[in-house]
Symmetry: C2
Subunit: 358 residues, 2 copies
């Protein structure tokens, strides 16, 4: 039996989108490929409220995270981490010999703009990396406010991991001063995993031009130069199937559902899950910084999460256990992509039923 996925990626994908994955191949050096890739870039600019160029990468989000921190740090990177995916960015810097420091907050807390101000005022850093929506803790960092601080430091490149938030909550890339805003297909965009994408500002490009040792496959500057020269074609063969699906889904998001409706639906679903969590458990993240796309619930009742998920599986649902160290101490319900209010309510009803909650 297929389990409807309420996990923070891969998400449940609409049938119409899945059907796009089965379309016959075209040459990646063809005019059709250029048109497809140009159209995707144009539509992603709308999704991200940006005039920056768009880069596509046949990798998971991690591929672009590594590319961004490696290609755009000339002096030293400041990684602000609120959980597992923030730490990953720091690890990526280290294993590429990129000078970096990590600034962590307690799990469940968000980064405050004044912390960023304190760090940047030392003058040591020329790049700030932040996770927008931490998939392990369910914290959504205040990127707009952090961006306002960074704007005071014109030499600092601002890179943001929006893997589990983009297309599920409004991210105004240009207004917030984000130089590289990256995500992948299998979260709030509502596609299968296998492709990542990012915005790439002129400032990011100019920085990368000063960085040597950017590697090959994850070299964002090389991607940028290639698509400019070759009319949106990529140096290596990209996943054409994902491009079909992405193209189709962007048209749906922008022209059928509409961005504002999509964001409002995510807030509505988030509110339902939060209210439920507060009624029967507690929220893990601090109030005021709750993710709109997934809710991390503190397991105050000491339920057996693995067992709950097993029972849910029999009914055709799947949620996530806590991540890493907070496994069983928390559990996660994702409410992102094309999942509906009705489906969220159905899931919660089933959880209540299994746990005997009223």
């Amino acid at each position: 039996m297929h389990k409807k996925l309420f996990i923070p990626g891969p998400v449940e994908v609409r049938k119409e989108v899945l059907a796009q994955m089965s379309k016959p191949m075209i040459g990646h050096r063809s005019k059709e490929a250029s048109e497809l890739q140009r159209r995707i870039s144009d539509n992603l600019r709308k999704l991200f409220y940006t005039n920056s160029e768009i880069l596509l990468s046949t990798t998971s989000g991690s591929g672009l995270m590594e590319g961004a921190i490696r290609c755009c740090t000339a002096k030293r990177a400041a990684v602000f981490s609120v959980g597992a995916f923030g730490k990953r960015w720091y690890e990526m810097a280290l294993c590429n010999n990129v000078p970096a420091d990590i600034f962590e907050v307690e799990m469940g807390k968000a980064i405050r703009p004044n912390q960023v101000e304190d760090v940047l005022s030392t003058g040591k850093y020329d790049l700030v990396a932040v996770t927008h929506n931490e998939t392990s803790t369910g914290v959504m960092n205040p990127i707009k406010e952090i961006g306002a601080v960074i704007k005071k430091y014109p030499d600092v490149v601002f890179i943001v991991d929006t893997v589990s938030s983009a297309a599920g909550t409004k991210i105004e890339v240009d207004d917030w001063g984000i130089d590289i805003c990256l995500t992948s297909t299998q979260k709030a965009l509502g596609l299968p995993p296998g492709m990542a994408l990012c915005t790439f500002s002129n400032k990011a490009k100019e920085r990368a031009e000063k960085v040597k040792n950017r590697g090959f496959y994850l070299d964002l500057l090389a991607l940028y130069k290639y698509i400019k020269k070759k009319d949106y074609q990529y140096p290596s063969t990209p996943s054409i199937s994902h491009m079909y699906a992405l193209d189709y889904q962007l048209n749906y998001i922008l022209n059928e559902e509409g961005l504002e409706n999509r964001f409002a639906r995510h807030i509505e679903m988030a509110n339902i899950v939060r209210e439920w969590a507060k009624k029967y458990f507690e929220l893990f993240p601090e109030e005021g910084y709750l993710s709109n796309t997934l809710t991390t619930v503190k397991n105050t009742r000491g339920i057996n999460v693995a067992e709950l998920n097993k029972e849910l599986g029999k009914r055709g649902f799947q949620i996530s256990n806590g991540y890493g160290d907070i496994k069983e101490k928390t559990f996660r319900i994702a409410h992102m992509a094309d999942c509906t209010v009705l489906e969220v309510n159905e899931l919660l009803k089933n959880i209540n039923d299994i746990l005997g909650l009223n």
Copy 2:
């Protein structure tokens, strides 16, 4: 109108395989994901005649090429190049600060084992990188014979790019002494582009353990350790759709068509195209080193290749122009994956018809 692809990737993909790309998602941390990925690895071992571990990478073949040369060169890499894709390997070494030298032969010629012997006898190198089937020139290098030379140097890791040959011609990884044999999905395997895979010997693993600065996403040792620890699951979310299709196609190749039949069909198709090319044009690569999966034809009649392809397009076919510097001076016909003798004959008949050849 859909054009049947006779280009060296992406290739024409069977409908049944494309259908696999549309299957609903499963969690990448599920038992089903482990089983799927373990079964793929087991079957790939049969395809490659190896006992080595298998690594899957959500990248194009270039991603794994970079990972292989970066992770497994401790001293200095010797890249033997017969065209564009050999040069790419050298470029990847340079932009990762991996010490490397390139040894090139004239376009259309193959590497000779004694050249490799001469280079290795200097004692300067601990890795040899070779392209098996050069997609630009249509040359197939004598990997078995080169492997026999390398076996005399137990400290040398042998990495081979079989992107456009694997699953179209027999490659006996263990017998030939290949440490990393890599390919991608969109060539003779007959799948859409978007995933790469390789064999990873114990020797390659031990070498990688001595190399620092292996990066993150393309770190083959990290992939290896993770799948060993997590029952064939991967550190980042992989392209599950490609895994469905790969699993399905491997079962077809091994248990329905059969490996020997598949390789024989490729030779039969290659022979037809070679005979045709020799009758009306000339072969670009030297005899004795002809690729079994694609034929590069010398444009001795000075035809307008772009124009020919345009006319073919109207009839529902697509071939490739020459690559890079030998564009229009050559053209390429791929005969790989699941394309049939009948289809190859149909293509050639149409070319003859357009060019007025008899």
